[in-house]
Structures are given as C-alpha cells and as structure tokens.
Symmetry: C2
C-alpha cells in the first residue's frame, strides 16, 4: 500500500504496517508511533504514524532522514478501555479463504473527495473504485464490488435521490450480496439513513452508511478507518439493519454503529460528530482488532428475513422550526402550496406560540398531517402537561414522541407516500417502526458536560 519511494524506504528497512517506528525528519522533528496503512493518495509519497496520543501524523518521505523499528517503553496504561497502546493491524493471513461479498456504492461527499489544488477547496471526485485502491484493507475483509452511482454533495440530497439510492441497494440485496455500504456526504447522511430505514423495514443484510469528516488528504482523516469499520459491519455484523458507521471518539480506537433513525450529526467538524440521540448506539467496532461489540438487541438478525422494499417518498412535506415571534403565515403558505405533511420543531415538551394554533387547525382541516417534535433534540414530547400542548392535541397535532425532528420529517415523507388514509398515517407516525421511537430512556442516553 506504500508505493514509490515510501514502499522502497520501508521495505529496505524490513518495516511493515503495524510496526512501532521512530522517524527523524530533516528539520530535527522525531516522531514515534505505529506505522499505519496509508490513507490518502497524495502527490508526494507520505507515511502515516499513529502517535500514542491517538493522533495520526503524516510525514513526507522526502523529509525523512532516519526511520527504524523501536520497542515501546513501558508505561502504565491505567485501564484506558478501548484504546490499547499498540493495536495489531489486520493481517491478511487471519482471514478465511471464502470472503463475504460487499457492495460499496459511491454517492459523493468527503469520503470520496480530493482537494482542488487551484482553489484549495475540497470537491468530490474519486469513484468508489479509487477509494478501494486507497484503502486496500477493505479487500482483506470482503470481496468488494464498487459502483459510483452519483457524485453529489450531501446538502444536495433530496427524496428523489433517496429513492434512486434505495432502488440500487435493493437490486444488490436481491442479487444475494452479504452487505451494502453507501459512501455518503456527512451533512445529510442522517436523513438518508433514516429514509432507507423506513424503506427497508424487512432486510436480510446490513445496509451501512459511511462518511468522512476530514478529507483523505489530511493526516487526521477518518475516511480509511471508517470505511474499514463499515466493511466489517457490512460483511460480518450479526444484524440486518440500516446503520451509520463513524468514529466514536476523536482518536482511532473505535467506531460506533448508529441506527439510521436515531443518528444525528452533532458537530460541524469533529471526527466523533455522529451520535445516537435518545438511545444507545447499536454496536462498537474496533477496526484494528476486527471486533464488533453489540451494545443492544438488534431489530433483525442477518438472513432472518427476505427484503421488503417500499422505496417511495412524498415530496410535499416540510420541516418547520418554531422561534419566538414567528409569523403564522408560513404555515398558511405551505397549506396553500399543497403540502401534505408538516413536522414542527417546537419548543420544550412540544409547544408553539398561540399565533400558530389557528393556521395549524386550518392545515389539519385541509388534511395536512402535522407532527410535533422538539428543538431541544433530547427528551420526549409530552403535550399533556401544559395548556398549549393540550390545545395542540385538541386540534389534532400528532405528538412525535422522542423522534428526532429530522427523522420525523423523513418518516412523514415515507408514511404519506405509502399510506392512502390520513388516520392510518397519523397512527403510523405514533408507532415505532424501525427504532425511531424509544419508549424507555436510560440515564446514559443524555450526554455529560464535564467542567
């Protein structure tokens, strides 16, 4: 995986991936850590070393004056779970002769991006094949069939693209594949993962979304390890669910497997931006140990069910965030434009200002399904506590339970495309279909702020 000078330098010294090395650079900098597989295709040959701090550093080969294998000095580890100081890398020989078959579908986004050197901006460009070439570890885990089906930034995703992706995923599953990976931009990955969760409520194999918060040109890129973890899940996980696999903490120790209906991008740039909200993640993946650790009971086991696909989404659905002073005409505008569903991101337990009550009543009388969620993100809607909630219930607003606003939006789009009757639609919105409603919150589902 290290070509050109990088490979020559390493092989001339008998150094291989996973060795602990000490590297001295021309400018005097000395770096010690584990030699990682090369994550990026950059113009200058570069090696990547994982420091004991967990951070990866890239060193250009032409700046190296010395590199050698060293032993780790003893340090007390004080039981830091999940972050062994030296992690074994994947050994090709450990794997069985017949590997699972996994499809990687490229849709665009950072995980398949490169820098435009003229402007300095990142633009999607690589095909899935090229990703595979850049991260050969995935080939040790599974036989890969890669296909780039579109190349769009995820902010340009929409219900039509969800359907397009869904149809291709269904085609692969029907062909008998062991797992499907969808490389997707991170901005709206949660929405698309929710969409396919509702579209594939019966599913024989895992459907795994994966993305990257840092482009593969950067030493701190998460793309290679996320893809390795996603491949492990697609090829070997015991469950058959639509999930998102991304870094679980800033270092490379583990990735988390999030249910598609419960996951949210919670940070603009951190590698551990993706988090499960109002539930715990489905599993942890230790990529270097090739280990998948279940954290909760899956909805479906692998090969338990045949595929049942309902890949249709209603486009006339809106997600509207309420704020103090919001003018009610926005609701009228949506009703007049023929919207069939509105998800409100209200305040607290599920409230909006009084000025919205009449327009919402009119919307519901015009057969619009209105669902209430909360802008607090965490917690559950309860419209029985305060008078505003009771008013909203009385005009027919549907409480969105503990659904994420984004998931409720996607669900309503799916429900309205697959149900004729309004009452059925309202009932479906209140029923847990694929983990989007969690009846019981343990204390650990709320994060901690540590000061």
């Amino acid at each position: 995986m290290y070509s050109e000078h990088g490979y020559e330098l390493l092989s001339s010294k008998g150094i291989k991936i996973g060795d602990r090395v000490r590297v001295k650079r021309k400018d005097g900098l000395v770096v010690e850590g584990i030699l990682l597989p090369r994550y990026s295709i950059s113009k200058k040959p570069t090696i990547v070393v994982k420091l004991d701090s967990g951070y990866n550093i890239g060193i250009r080969v032409d700046t190296i004056v010395d590199i050698k294998i060293v032993k780790k000095e003893e340090v007390s580890l004080k039981g830091e779970a999940g972050s062994p100081a030296v992690m074994p890398l994947i050994e090709k020989t450990e794997l069985p002769a017949k590997k699972p078959l996994v499809a990687i579908i490229g849709t665009g986004g950072t995980i398949a991006s490169k820098i435009e050197y003229e402007t300095g901006a990142v633009k999607p460009a690589f095909s899935s094949e090229e990703i595979l070439e850049a991260v050969p570890e995935v080939g040790y885990i599974a036989d890969i069939h890669a296909e780039s089906i579109m190349n769009i930034l995820s902010e340009n995703m929409n219900p039509e693209y969800w359907e397009q992706i869904g149809r291709i995923v269904a085609k692969y599953i029907e062909s008998g594949i062991d797992g499907v990976i969808i490389a997707h931009g991170t901005d709206t990955m949660g929405y698309t993962a929710a969409a396919l969760s509702f579209a594939f409520q019966k599913l024989p194999v895992p459907v795994v979304f994966v993305g990257s918060q840092r482009s593969s040109d950067r030493p701190s890129s998460d793309s290679a390890l996320n893809l390795v973890a996603a491949t492990l899940v697609a090829a070997k996980a015991p469950f058959a669910e639509v999930v998102v696999v991304m870094h679980g903490e800033p270092s490379d120790s583990y990735m988390l497997v999030h249910r598609g209906t419960r996951v949210r991008k919670m940070h603009t740039s951190r590698r551990d931006a993706f988090q499960t909200i109002n539930d715990i993640p489905l599993a942890k993946v230790y990529p270097f140990e090739q280990k998948i650790e279940l954290l909760k009971e899956p909805l479906r086991k692998r090969r338990e069910e045949e595929l049942e696909a309902k890949i249709k989404f209603e486009k006339k659905v809106a997600l509207v965030k309420f704020y103090p002073g919001m003018e009610p005409e926005i609701i009228d505008f949506l009703v007049d434009r023929g919207y069939r569903g509105i998800v409100i991101e209200g305040t607290g337990l599920g409230h909006v200002g009084d000025q919205l009550i009449e327009p919402l009543r009119r919307a519901i009388e015009n057969d619009v399904v209105v669902v209430m969620t909360s802008q607090t993100i965490f917690g559950r809607i309860n419209m029985n506590v305060y008078s505003t909630g009771r008013k909203l219930l009385s005009i027919g607003v549907i409480p969105g339970e503990d659904m994420l606003p984004e998931t409720a939006y996607v669900k309503l789009s799916w429900v309205l495309a697959n149900t004729e009757d309004k009452k059925d639609a309202e009932n479906l919105m209140q029923r847990n279909l694929v983990g989007e409603i969690n009846r019981r919150h343990t204390y650990t589902v709320y994060p901690r702020w540590l000061y």
Copy 2:
C-alpha cells in the same frame, strides 16, 4: 417555613431545616435524609426530605407516624466532588445586617405555576410575591422587591415582550438595585436571555434568568433551589452579565451559570436541560454552601460600568432550518413579505442545497441580511472548505461563526433594529459583542456520550 401541622410537628420534636431525620410513614415506608426547606405550597402540609441518592421526596404530614433526628452512618465518600453527603443549609445568622437589594420580575412559566386541579394541567398562576413566600431562603440572602409584569407561557414570548421586559429591567438597574432576577418559562428562556444580552452590552449588575423544569408541586421540583442560586448570583456574583441559572446535574448539588448568548435548552424535561454550547459555563453555584465558583473570566465586573441600554428588536427576521428536499420558494416568500434578515440553520460547516442559492442571492440583492449557522449545534461555520460554502460566501451570505442558530436569530433582530447601514449590520454579525462568538474551543466544550 413549615406552617400549620408541618411546623408544629417539627418544632415539637426540636427538628430544624438541615437536620438528618428518619421518617416513618403509616404504610410502613421509612425514609432517611436531610430535612429541606419546603419548596411548594400544596393543599396538604408536606415535608421534603433529601435522600442520600440526591432525590427529594415529599411526605404528607398526616401520613407520618414517627419522625426523629438521626446521625448519618459512616460511608466512604470516595471523593465525589460537589456532592457532600450532608449539606449545610443557609443559616440566617451567617448573613450581614445590610443585605443587597434584588428585584424579582415574574413573567410566567413553570417557576410560577400551579396545577389546575380540574384538568390536571399546569398553568401559570403565582405572582413573584407568592414564589418569595414559598422559598423564604431568598429573603435570607437579599432584600427582595418582587413584581409580576406579565403571565405568559414562554412559547408566547416575542420581540415585543423582550423589549417590555428589557425596559423594566433597565428601570430597576437605573434605580441602583444590586441585581435583577427574571423568572421565565424554560421553553424560550435562552432566546430572551440572548435578547437582553445584546440589549445591555454595558451593565453594572447581574441580570439573572431563572426557570423551573418541574413544577413546584412535585417533590422533584427544581424551582426553589434554582431561585436560591439565582438570588445568590444576583446579590453577590462578582460579574455583571446577563445569565441563566439552572440545575447543573439531576441532583441538587450545584447549579450552572450560563452566559445568555450561549445557553440552550437541550432536553424536554430533565432538570439539567440547560447547557452552555461551544463554551464552558461562566460559573457554578453551590446553593447550600452559598458558594459561587467562577469557571471563566467574566466579560464585565460588578459596578465597573454604567448601564447602556439599546432595547429594540426588528420583527422582520426569520430563522429557517434547511432540510433535504426543501423548496426554495420559502425564501422568496420571506423576501416578498419584507423580511430584513434571515438566519439559515444549514447543514454541517454551513451549507444548503443548490436550489436555495438563487433565492438567497435575490434576498441579498434586496438588502436582506442572510446569516449562516449550523443544525449540528456544536462546532463552527466554515464556508471555505467545500464548493457550496464558497458559492454562498460569494453571493454575500454571512458566516455565523460558532453562534447558536437561536442566538444568531436574536442578534440579527437586535442588530437590524439598532443599525441603519447594511454593511455595518453584516460586520456586527461577525463581531463578538457579548460572548456569542467564541474564537477558541477547548476539547471540554463538546459533551461526552458514555456507553
């Protein structure tokens, strides 16, 4: 503070607030813990006992068959910082003869609410005077002037109410008061706190918002301790900022002081729902120890500056959350209705779908100020990384840095009401005025999910 039977029962036994008691109920239940001040005005006399678990339990006096003072059995505390097993309560004698003067302004919300027994719903009803009667501890800390200026649920707050509250707060400050408390519903408390932060950029004393997540009828109510902590801050804090004081964790160990521009209600119902985002809180308050611990440098010290009030907000400002498939006409609708400002809650580093670029260009050409924030909540806008961001910058969209979408909305409303020139407005949006933009994020500002 225990009237009627409650007081008689306690005084006949020589028991006072802060004693460790063992209470036996008619039904055989035995409860041991610290006798707390009574938090609620309920129809039946009730005592409140804080269990060692941190939970408060209310016991109706007419169900008690025995109550006596006990000594705590030795248990190893294992250094649980901030939660001493036995907490001294406020002693009247500890306080100086001349107390600070604090105004409590009631605006409505749970902190001033009671159950409607007919319907079971909670409705605002108590005046600030009644709160004061229910929580006499605040009277030990400061001389109180209470005034109920409105009685509305906070989902009905709007920029006009912000101005009304602001004018009354200014009046109190000009009269020379030592601190102002605003009792406010929690749903939109963050928005109003941000509004007054921008309105009072020079300020001689603290302006403290306080609310309650659980109504005062419930043994688990947080209203009394939040009010005690808010009074400590208003009367004694060394800083002069607009802040929110609420529970810092589910137990009663400490409250957090959040800067008004950085605070967000992050949970529908938890007592520790309010959290500082993209920064650390200003201070911790230990109510039983009457201690305020600063966590960071304040913007302004007490009595350092004279009041400078600019209490005006533009109503024609909208907060619009983007979602995949969003129709662009919503932007045109706002422009056509004469909106002067739009805050977008975009995806990731600050993106929207391509379909919104043209309507946003038209908005900006029509002198609308458009500001970008992120629905990830955590992190910072960076529109230089991807092509969509660069397009948005080129048409004149203002990056909202690490501002909360809600704070950016309030700020834009304030800026447009107080600035004639569009360029000035755009510059102000990118300048840190009162802590709403934090140039440096430490690792601790992102919460941890523990699995």
